[in-house]
Subunit: 334 residues, 2 copies
């Protein structure tokens, strides 16, 4: 069972009201542990933090060349996007490149994650579509992988489908781990997710950062995805999103991807390392303050960069009237 250490406080007035425990590991591509917090050998589901590896499996199959994917296509394929108009347009364009339709997406529809985009859609009297789903780019990428394989769109979310098998095989190679049925779950958008230890995940993101220890095909594919995420960070998240802002502040030296239930992963190009953390209780609000504190501790963010991310490091808790009554921030001493 995942265990962590108290790391993020939620305050109200002068008091700490709630506390989030965090488990985390930073490691090099060779497997040297740079930082360990909590139970780093317990398998955890990476959720959407694994999306860059899924996008890499699509690229590895040759889809980027065949369909002429640009950075924006690969960024939105690796995204948990906000469902803003730009994201919807990017996924629609991606589908057009591969000759697929929005109706082929089996991710399901949900309202845009970005509240103003959801409100604008509702104000126009429009229902959300599968294009607004934060995973729509990933699903479009999997359709591209099906096309490359000549495998059917039908059943593309099933673990036994050739597209999912190709994705899991790449994840196994990158993580040096194996994913039998007991290590799989079903993600919010219906595709398999795998559980691996934070230690393995940190090494995987270190390989994403360094391309070391990978075969040439995987290295080339991961390099392409990493460059795309860093070049088009808006398409990986969107307005006011931590990953987007972190990659902007990172000056091309950090690739970042959050996952549901409090997962956050970064590839640190300068350090040649990966950092993966899990908020033990799965709460999203604690992940950005924890990531910023750990990245600062690792020297991956300097004081100016950390200051530029201040709105993510210390998030105001507001009451209904909009008055600030507390904050979410890393515990002092971390």
């Amino acid at each position: 069972m995942i265990e962590g250490v108290p790391f993020v406080a939620v305050t109200r007035g002068e008091r700490i009201e709630s506390v989030h425990a965090v488990a985390a590991c930073a490691a090099t591509a060779g497997g040297e542990t740079l930082l360990a917090l909590g139970a780093i050998d317990e398998p955890v589901f990476l959720r959407s933090a694994a999306k860059p590896f899924i996008a890499a499996a699509v690229v590895r199959a040759g889809a980027a060349e065949r369909f002429g994917f640009d950075d924006r296509d690969l960024a939105v394929m690796s995204a948990s996007h906000n469902g803003e108009p730009e994201h919807v347009a990017a996924v629609a364009a991606l589908l057009e490149k591969i000759g697929a339709q929005p109706a082929d997406l089996q991710c399901g529809a949900h309202a845009p994650s970005y509240e103003p985009a959801a409100a604008a859609l509702a104000a126009r009297g429009e229902a959300p579509t599968s294009l607004h789903n934060n995973c729509s780019g990933k699903h479009a990428g999997i359709l591209a992988l099906c096309k490359m394989q000549g495998s059917p769109f039908t059943g593309y979310r099933e673990a036994g489908h050739p597209a999912q098998r190709a994705i899991l095989e790449l994840c196994e190679r990158v993580s040096d781990d194996r994913f039998p049925a007991g290590r799989l779950g079903i993600d919010g958008c219906g595709i398999p997710v795998y559980a691996t230890s934070l230690r393995n995940a940190a090494r995987s993101f270190a390989r994403f950062a360094t391309l070391a220890g990978l075969d040439a095909g995987d290295a080339e594919a991961l390099a392409r995805v990493r460059a795309a995420m860093i070049a088009e960070p808006f398409y990986v998240g969107g307005s006011a999103r931590f990953d987007t802002d972190l990659m902007r502040v990172g000056n091309g030296r950090i690739a970042a991807k959050a996952g549901a239930e409090g997962v956050h992963a970064t590839a640190l190009l300068d350090a040649g390392a990966g950092l993966v953390l899990k908020v033990v209780d799965g709460t999203r609000r604690a992940a950005p303050p924890a990531a910023i504190a750990l990245l600062t501790q690792l020297g991956a963010l300097d004081a100016m960069q950390a200051a530029a991310l201040g709105a993510h490091a210390c998030v105001a808790v507001k009451n209904v009237a909009g008055t600030t009554v507390g904050e979410v921030r890393a515990l002092s001493g971390n």
Copy 2:
């Protein structure tokens, strides 16, 4: 800082994905500790779990007699209600009894907590009002207290206002605790909230259950509020709400009130005890499974009652398509 023990699991497939720690105390009115979990002497904000005591301060001031409050009025005054049409109508009726207007409520507006009620409101093109705020009944009750005091509605949310002073004084008497400025915070609806230990809070709810150790006026007021909550549980919460269902299943022997950031409190009439728990990380989803496990452990719920609350004890985790992919439930062995 609040500390707890791992108590509620969130599963995905065959694995535990996230874990919530819980701190809890059960005690008698005399202060005998029946159950202790985690840091029970650390002050925590009770948030809306304190609403029955706020309603009691209103009753203690004589408002129930003067304005002819019935059970429904007192239940919605103690509520974190769903904003369903019945709740909105009940608060409107309460305001009319005291000669106040919806515009006098300073709780702010938010969409009904109950999703179908929010959707129905949006479908009619109507904006939420302060009546829909889950705290609107409490605020209406505070207006009644102002009327009894002859104090102004203006500033009724401020800690220095006579209405808030009367409320805090009752809370101090019931909890045998004191609330200087450092122990106060501002609640989501703008009024002061106080932090007291789970040990004190459990004894307070034991007194709510037994009326022991209280002066006659407080005892009479708390008895009136308790009877109202138990008689009209729908008005304390609403459709599909844990507190409402728990009081229904409790056969008149349990009064229950949740608070934000993972607080849950029960007055156990048969045991003459109170149980108060806090999900350490503040996550709402973990409170009902934890409460049911602890109430069962205390003998306050038998197997049939626990089974009747099954939908709250084990909550399905669904993906966007509606497929169950995991569950939220107390860890086995608790």
